[in-house]
């Protein structure tokens, strides 16, 4: 089937998509946007987190077909190595990653967490970032990064 997506601000038309493909499959395989990762492929790890119409979702739990006509933002749409998004900068500054596999999902989720107004305290960040697992267990630094970005956002 044919999909029309708005990805990172750009309209994209993708032909020949299998109905079974998930949104993260389409992003990675058809559009070569490999930031979002397929970790568990069943909605448990959050490595595939993207923004769908501005809201964070698990890219593995949405059919590509269901995303037809909708707006998607992936980590590639946030910033570049030379011009990082403040949340990306905060993750670097706070050393909030080790292997990096979960990081694109963490960063997207963190951007949404902050925008939703759930970055007021360490406990609140832990609760509202619980949908993103980090098997290297960089959690303490991830919480620091989200809080740090929230402070910059206020100033």
């Amino acid at each position: 089937m044919r999909l029309r997506l708005f990805v990172n601000g750009t309209p994209r038309t993708i032909d020949g998509v299998d109905e079974r493909a998930t949104l993260v499959d389409v992003l990675r395989d058809a559009l070569d946007l490999t930031g979002a990762k397929v970790g568990c492929n069943r909605g448990e790890c959050g490595a595939c987190t993207v923004l769908l119409d501005g809201r964070r979702v698990n890219g593995c739990m949405v059919l590509g077909a269901s995303a037809d006509g909708h707006e998607v933002v992936t980590v590639e749409g946030l910033g570049t190595p030379d011009d990082m998004h403040p949340m990306q900068r905060a993750f670097v500054d706070c050393d909030a990653l080790q292997c990096g596999f979960c990081t694109p999902g963490q960063v997207i989720s963190a951007v949404a967490c902050l925008k939703e107004g759930h970055a007021g305290s360490p406990g609140e960040v832990r609760e509202w970032m619980s949908g993103n697992l980090c098997r290297c267990s960089a959690y303490a630094q991830i919480v620091d990064a989200v809080l740090s970005a929230a402070q910059q956002d206020e100033s």
Partner: protein
């Protein structure tokens, strides 16, 4: 995953016709259906995506004061709604303790009612005996390496539990599931919505094929209500046991109490005897604990899961106290 056709009907009528056809599956949030298809629990020929049915997404307070939640409202939208917070804090709390922010942005309140058990044998990637997956094949969980099984309403055919949090809250709210179908619609109290193993194990709910949940209605709000969920980690985990309580008081004494346990049966488990026994007691009195002791004494623990009985007792007690701790401001508006 078996190949399927994808349809996105424009109207409720089109949607009902589509999901009424054999081999069709309705797709709302997708957070369960996609995993069922991956595991082979469901293998539809056609997936009917309901995303265009905007009329089923509204959350409103109707003229008679009934809270009506459209079936396609996302869990995150229900939790963020002011009327829900005011009239049904137990539901808001249950939702915010369910799943993750990402999943709550996808999952719908109607779909959540249809969540299926987390029993690992039911969800096994390779076939094992499970009467729900393969009728007549037996139950691997009955003597299995899994102790988070039912306390109430189980049989040797199935010892699984229903894992969702919102239905437990909806049970104490005496919520009604509103449905429609090509043959007309029904109004089904949440407490009559689930099918226990003693009756059947081939279905989880009384929802008929082709019947669609359109809304959930709460006509008996509970501004003083609470949800307590106990789990192995403090976020993003299914319950070991959960409890919902809604109270009304007359002076210091309980006047009306509604109680339900979650993750102890194949649906929310209301405790009618305890509800009656609590009337006239003060929430902090030891007699409340004794009445709840009597209620959980009816549990039928399996070998190895008697720990859930004590947990259920203490979780219920905390839910009653949390609900009673909410100030009685009188009225709900």
């Amino acid at each position: 995953m078996k190949p399927f056709a994808y349809a996105r009907p424009q109207s409720l009528e089109e949607a009902l016709a589509a999901i009424g056809a054999p081999g069709s599956a309705a797709l709302a949030g997708g957070t369960e259906l996609l995993n069922w298809m991956r595991l082979g629990i469901e293998a539809p020929d056609r997936v009917v995506d309901l995303q265009l049915l905007d009329d089923l997404r509204a959350i409103t307070v109707q003229g008679d004061g009934t809270l009506r939640i459209g079936a396609l409202a996302r869990l995150s939208e229900v939790a963020a709604d002011g009327a829900v917070a005011r009239m049904a804090p137990v539901l808001r709390s249950a939702i915010l303790q369910a799943a993750s922010p990402q999943l709550r942005n996808l999952a719908t309140i109607g779909g959540n009612l249809l969540q299926r058990t987390r029993c690992p044998y039911f969800r096994a990637e390779d076939p094992v005996p499970c009467n729900r997956r393969d009728p007549g094949s037996g139950c691997a969980a009955v003597d299995g390496e899994y102790d988070n099984v039912a306390l109430f309403g189980w049989t040797e055919r199935c010892v699984a539990t229903h894992p969702a949090d919102p239905p437990v809250a909806l049970a104490v709210l005496d919520a009604v599931v509103v449905t429609t179908g090509t043959d007309g619609g029904r109004r089904i109290p949440v407490r009559d919505f689930y099918v226990l193993p003693a009756d059947r194990v081939d279905i989880d709910t009384v929802l008929a094929p082709g019947e669609l949940i359109t809304a959930i209605e709460v006509s008996s709000p509970a501004p003083r209500s609470a949800y307590v969920k106990v789990r192995e980690r403090s976020s993003y985990e299914f319950a070991l046991v959960s409890a919902a309580a809604a109270v009304e008081t007359d002076g210091p004494a309980l006047l009306r109490v509604r109680l339900a346990l979650g993750s102890v049966a194949m649906g929310p488990w209301r405790l009618g005897d305890a509800e009656e026994a609590l009337v006239g007691l003060e929430p902090a009195s030891p007699a409340v604990g004794h009445a709840i002791d009597d209620a959980v004494a009816l549990a039928m623990p399996r070998p190895g899961n008697d720990w859930k009985v004590r947990l259920a007792r203490n979780t219920l007690l905390r839910a009653v106290r949390d609900a009673a701790a909410i100030p009685d401001v009188g009225g709900i508006e």
